[in-house]
């Protein structure tokens, strides 16, 4: 991978330092594959997984918390929770993302609209809350539901899911500095105000969900989910509410990365959620999956125009397996797709992006949501919670983090931590940490793997 392709000038300055740090400390070979291309990356074995966890009333302290799990196999605490930082309240903890320097982890609360900023560099073994943004709604002009916290050079761009006017799905992108200062709000295009974007189909719903950047094409892509009323309500009640079921996103938007202006609104019916872009130079395409209609969607440019194409079914769409998190392998060969309702993970061969083929399937639990892959694709971490009121009830409400090793043919479970038994809550999004990012020495036996330069 050509690092210059993905690292902006300010970060390029950091790159030698980071690379040197890696070489000088613990050489490692892994990272998530869903991070911002502007992100300073670690390579090799991650030391920690930070799990943004929803508090459960009546369980432990009942609060949302950032849970740090030791995942270095050479550590005496391997596979154990080593720290838990409660933040106060149940905020509907959901997604989190690092700043581009990877020193801070921003974690959003979809209900309280608070953004909790954790220091993960001072002591990577102990993600520590250092700042809370509690005026996101008023500062942004009414955006509710901070979802994806995504790194751009020196900036964090945050997708909203809803608004403070009707708690519906119309929403915006909100940009902050890395230090937490509000910069601007970019509303999703609506029919009355497309903001210059081309509406190529029938829909311009103004909804939002995930965001990814493709610097090589100077674009950002956003997807669309649903508003506060739906993502917060009881899942079963929602399925029986005919009006609520009309309030799902059916669009993706192509943005000009540099100007933050929307360029195209694409019809993608059925709630397109996560977006993952291919990594190899020249592979200028991305994937998304639709939650309700169970499709893998390919986003690609053709004759300077972006298009969305359904390229594969996920499971049996008529059964609504509910695709949730996806993870693309760093060699662009596999796409992991989790389906919440049947608790399965599926691997799709995407070497031909226009014709993905399912090549593997495994039951992870009664329910599964997130998957985070190491950069080399050999380690896959899974967690279970989708949304506080959407998770399965009673005995089907698994809450865990599991690590599997993947040898290209089969997955083998390495450890599992039961978040109920640990009285922590609902395990949601995972982010990786490593001492090597910060020029620190891991407090473990030195790895003997070959030194490999930092990936993008």
């Amino acid at each position: 991978m050509n690092i210059k392709k993905f690292i902006s000038k300010p970060l390029a300055v950091l790159a030698p330092f980071v690379a040197a740090s890696v070489l000088a400390t613990n050489p490692v070979m892994a990272d998530e594959t869903c991070m911002s291309p502007y992100m300073v990356k670690i390579v090799g074995q991650e030391d920690f997984v930070y799990v943004w966890t929803l508090g459960v009333e009546g369980l432990g302290d009942g609060q949302d918390k950032m849970v740090t799990v030791d995942v270095n196999p050479k550590s005496e605490h391997y596979g154990k929770v080593i720290n838990s930082e409660s933040v106060g309240g149940r905020n509907e903890a959901h997604h989190s993302g690092f700043t581009d320097d990877r020193k801070y982890l921003w974690a959003g609360g979809l209900d309280s609209n608070k953004i909790f900023i954790f220091d993960v560099h001072t002591d990577p073994a102990k993600a520590t809350l250092v700042k809370t943004i509690d005026d996101f709604v008023s500062k942004s002009g009414g955006v509710v539901g901070p979802h994806t916290t995504y790194a751009l050079p020196g900036r964090m761009i945050i997708t909203g899911l809803s608004n403070n006017q009707d708690h519906g799905g119309r929403t915006a992108l909100v940009e902050y500095t890395n230090s937490g200062e509000y910069i601007s709000t970019y509303w999703m295009p609506t029919d009355d105000n497309l903001q210059g974007a081309h509406k190529g189909g029938q829909f311009a719903d103004g909804y939002g969900y995930d965001i990814r950047a493709l610097p090589s094409k100077n674009v950002m892509l956003t997807s669309s989910f649903t508003g506060w009323s739906n993502y917060m309500m009881d899942f079963g009640a929602m399925l029986g509410d005919a009006e609520a079921m009309k309030r799902f996103g059916n669009t993706m938007v192509i943005w000009d990365l540099h100007t933050r202006k929307p360029k195209q609104v694409l019809d993608v019916p059925g709630a397109p959620l996560e977006i993952r872009c291919a990594w190899k130079p020249g592979n200028d395409y991305c994937f998304s999956t639709t939650a309700l209609t169970s499709q893998i969607v390919l986003l690609e440019e053709e004759n300077d125009v972006w298009k969305a194409t359904n390229v594969a079914d996920i499971g049996v769409p008529a059964n609504i397996p509910l695709p949730v998190d996806i993870s693309i392998q760093s060699d662009d060969a596999l796409l992991w797709v989790n389906t919440f309702l049947d608790g399965k993970t599926r691997a799709f061969d995407i070497t031909d992006p226009h014709n993905p083929k399912q090549v593997y399937e495994k039951q992870i639990g009664n329910q599964v949501n997130m998957v985070s892959s190491s950069w080399d694709g050999k380690r896959l971490y899974y967690t279970t919670s989708l949304l506080g009121n959407w998770d399965k009830k009673a005995q089907d409400n698994d809450q865990f983090i599991k690590l599997y090793h993947w040898d290209g043919k089969e997955m083998t479970e390495q450890f599992a931590i039961d978040f109920h038994a640990e009285k922590l809550g609902r395990a949601h999004q995972m982010r990786f940490g490593a001492y090597s990012l910060y020029g620190k020495q891991a407090k473990v036996e030195q790895a003997k793997s070959p030194i490999v330069a930092m990936s993008k």
Partner: protein, 468 residues
């Protein structure tokens, strides 16, 4: 809603079925065939008839520059031809109105607004009440105002949900009722458990599944601590600050002036403007007061019409919800024009059971009051979908069909619904009469809707800030 019944295929009838439990109307081989998921030949597509425009979701329109209806209009979502009709949040701009004028001059068709002796209306109280109504900080986690469920452009109810959703997404068992013309109600809430607007406010503020404040004292202290309320209570209440009484009086004052009359019907019926409504609507009114018997509960007086008798009735709907059998599967939309079915057993995996609801009985403890609910006013009824106490009817067509069939049939349970109102009987209305009746009901929109919505839009939404 009556559909044209363009049923193309039933491939999705298995949706949400486990892979081991195939239904008789599913063909496994069909599912396994490679296909374009959005190719309409694989799906059940039902197109609503063109005139069925009273979906809760919309057909928003503009009056005096003000959009009436959800900013996220979903009219036609049931069809593959659906096109969005969305407006930017920033378009939600308005102008403060002189709401208090209705005290001296109630709109045509409505009586003088009842005002408690101990809470005379003033501009200051109305302004304060409006500010409180839109303040999301009046909830335990600063995310919920009254207006999050009573959304101005959505008829001061919510078009987006059948049943309201409260604090932390907790379920409610009933539809958010409109705030329009609550000044005239003798009983409040669907189950009539409250008597005055002044007292009513504490229900939602303290309900665990609404705004979830933990005590009256907590609410009052929170308001006292907000700098932007400094002096406002004192100015409105002769030097008295926020307390249990002044909070109630302020919020009641705003809600009390949200009256809406002088509708096309009022101008025709009371104002004697011959051309104010169409011949079709006049025929509909005749059905309303004649064969349809609607007027038995939705009263029309000699000089004014509240379109409610303020009484409690068991229509059979609540009985069915409590005593009837749930279907094994329910049809649901998963994308525009695309349906699937959800199995009851699958739904139970991800949802809590419905909250029991026995209606007025819960207030009186009298078995004769089981499943009785307050008659809602029909004023602005075209703006306040979805309908019934549980929001289960999405449009006026569904409601009329329900009554035309005599409410819920008494044989839907093993024993009879003994408290069902004798007024609920099969009506035998023809399609033409139903059409006329619906046209009449759409003449009941007040003439000040745009003004009231604009006034609401001019009110800042209270959210947490760090600017003080």
């Amino acid at each position: 809603m009556r559909y044209s019944g363009v049923k193309i295929s039933l491939l999705l009838s298995l949706c949400f079925y486990s892979s081991y439990g195939l239904s008789k109307d599913n063909d496994v081989r069909e599912q396994e065939k490679p296909r374009d998921f959005y190719n309409s030949e694989h799906f059940t597509i039902q197109a609503p008839e063109a005139e069925d425009s009273s979906s809760a979701s919309g057909n928003a329109y503009i009056i005096d520059g003000v959009r009436i209806g959800a900013g996220d209009d979903k009219a036609g979502y049931e069809t593959t031809g659906y096109q969005t009709n969305s407006v930017a949040i920033s378009a939600r701009q308005g102008t403060k109105a002189d709401l208090i004028r209705v005290i001296e001059n109630p709109p045509l068709g409505l009586p003088k607004i009842p005002v408690p002796v101990n809470n005379p209306l003033t501009v200051e109280k109305i302004d304060l009440g409006r500010k409180l109504f839109f303040d999301r900080r009046l909830s335990l986690n600063d995310t919920f105002s009254c207006a999050m469920c009573h959304i101005p452009e959505q008829g001061f109810t919510s078009h987006e949900l059948e049943k309201a959703v409260g604090f932390e997404g907790r379920s409610n068992r009933r539809n958010a009722p409109t705030i329009y013309n609550t000044a005239y109600l003798e009983r409040l809430f669907h189950d009539a458990r409250e008597t005055t607007l002044e007292n009513q406010i504490w229900g939602p503020l303290l309900a665990r599944n609404e705004m979830a404040m933990t005590s009256m004292g907590q609410v009052i202290q929170k308001v006292k601590d907000m700098p932007d309320y400094a002096g406002l209570f004192e100015a409105a209440f002769d030097g008295k600050g926020p307390n249990i009484v002044t909070m109630g009086k302020a919020l009641a004052s705003y809600q009390r002036v949200l009256v809406s009359g002088n509708s096309a019907f009022d101008r025709w019926y009371f104002g004697k403007e011959a051309n104010a409504i169409s011949e079709k609507a006049i025929r509909g009114f005749n059905v309303f007061k004649g064969k349809g018997q609607c007027v038995s509960c939705h009263s029309v007086g000699q000089k004014t019409a509240l379109f409610t008798d303020n009484m409690m009735h068991n229509t059979g709907l609540g009985f069915k919800r409590s005593m009837g059998k749930e279907p094994d599967k329910e049809r649901m939309l998963i994308a525009p024009g695309t349906y699937a079915y959800v199995l009851k057993s699958k739904k139970a995996l991800v949802g809590h059971p419905p909250i029991p609801d026995v209606g007025f009985y819960e207030v009186t403890q009298d078995p004769d009051d089981r499943w009785k609910y307050r008659t809602p006013s029909l004023r602005n009824v075209a703006l306040t979908a979805p309908y019934m106490h549980d929001g289960s009817m999405l449009n006026l067509g569904d409601v009329i069909a329900f009554y035309n069939e005599g409410g819920m049939l008494k044989n839907e349970s093993n024993f009879p619904n003994v408290t069902q109102s004798p007024l609920i009987q099969p009506l035998g209305l023809t399609e033409g009469e139903i059409d006329d009746l619906m046209t009449f009901m759409k003449t009941l929109n007040g003439d000040n809707i745009a003004e009231v919505i604009s006034d609401a839009f001019a009110t800042p939404v209270g959210d947490t800030t760090n600017e003080h």
